[in-house]
Assembly symmetry: C2
Homo-oligomer: 137 residues x 2
């Protein structure tokens, strides 16, 4: 099954609320995550909400990474979506979980852009997993 890309939909729980509120810290973490995944960064955009919370995306030559944080809930909703055999979005995901000190992460992995013989494209969920961070990073 040849897919154009892999997309990880990720919920991080029990994160450090200070890290989740730190605009520069979150942006630096995401840029590092993209590099760790062997992706090429085209542009990053991050915003801090009042009184708290950060949202941002990193557009890659190989798709994108995104994050939305709720410091008051110690929660971050993240996406790691990369194309090409040279990238590994799991490396970005594990880096984010580590930097944010997540206690638990839930991930659903998709393979996207699977071409059928009739020229239509599909995606499939390959796995959903909940893990303690100690086991994953």
């Amino acid at each position: 099954m040849k897919a154009l890309g892999t997309h990880i939909v990720c919920e991080l729980s029990g994160c450090d609320p200070v890290a989740l509120s730190d605009l520069d810290g979150v942006q630096n973490m995401m840029i590092a995550a993209a590099r760790i995944a062997h992706a090429t960064i085209l542009e990053s955009s991050f915003h801090r909400f009042e009184p708290q919370g950060v949202s941002g995306t990193v557009i890659l030559a190989e798709s994108h990474l995104s994050i939305h944080t709720w410091p008051e809930k110690k929660y971050a909703a993240m996406d790691f979506y990369t194309c090409g055999d040279h990238t590994d979005p799991w490396l970005a995901c594990l880096h984010a979980a580590k930097v944010l000190s997540a206690k638990r992460m839930l991930t659903t992995e998709f393979k996207r852009g699977i071409e059928a013989k009739n020229g239509t494209f599909t995606h499939v969920v390959t796995a959903t997993e909940a893990k303690d961070r100690q086991r994953t990073a």
Copy 2:
């Protein structure tokens, strides 16, 4: 089941390749899609690849929308992720399918940010559907 947000992972097939290559057109479509979904736009970033293809994200006060296009395959991989009861990411999704003249769309809908009693957050897939555009837009 109270969730913070709804995220639609979407593959659009049989799209108009000219529309998929048009940087300004794709960006305008995405900004319109965000408004149609009743979301508040914070920033949009779009890139055109050579020889073809467009990638971009719209960061919302309520999460984000994203698109990556492969005009040579008449294919777009899109995400519509919004939070709050006032938004409806399906309105954005249907708008995109219409503007890009998609012949077929495959969607998987997530509810994200579901808080368990122990304070951890989960997501669930609520539905996966493949539809002809004529039936959906």
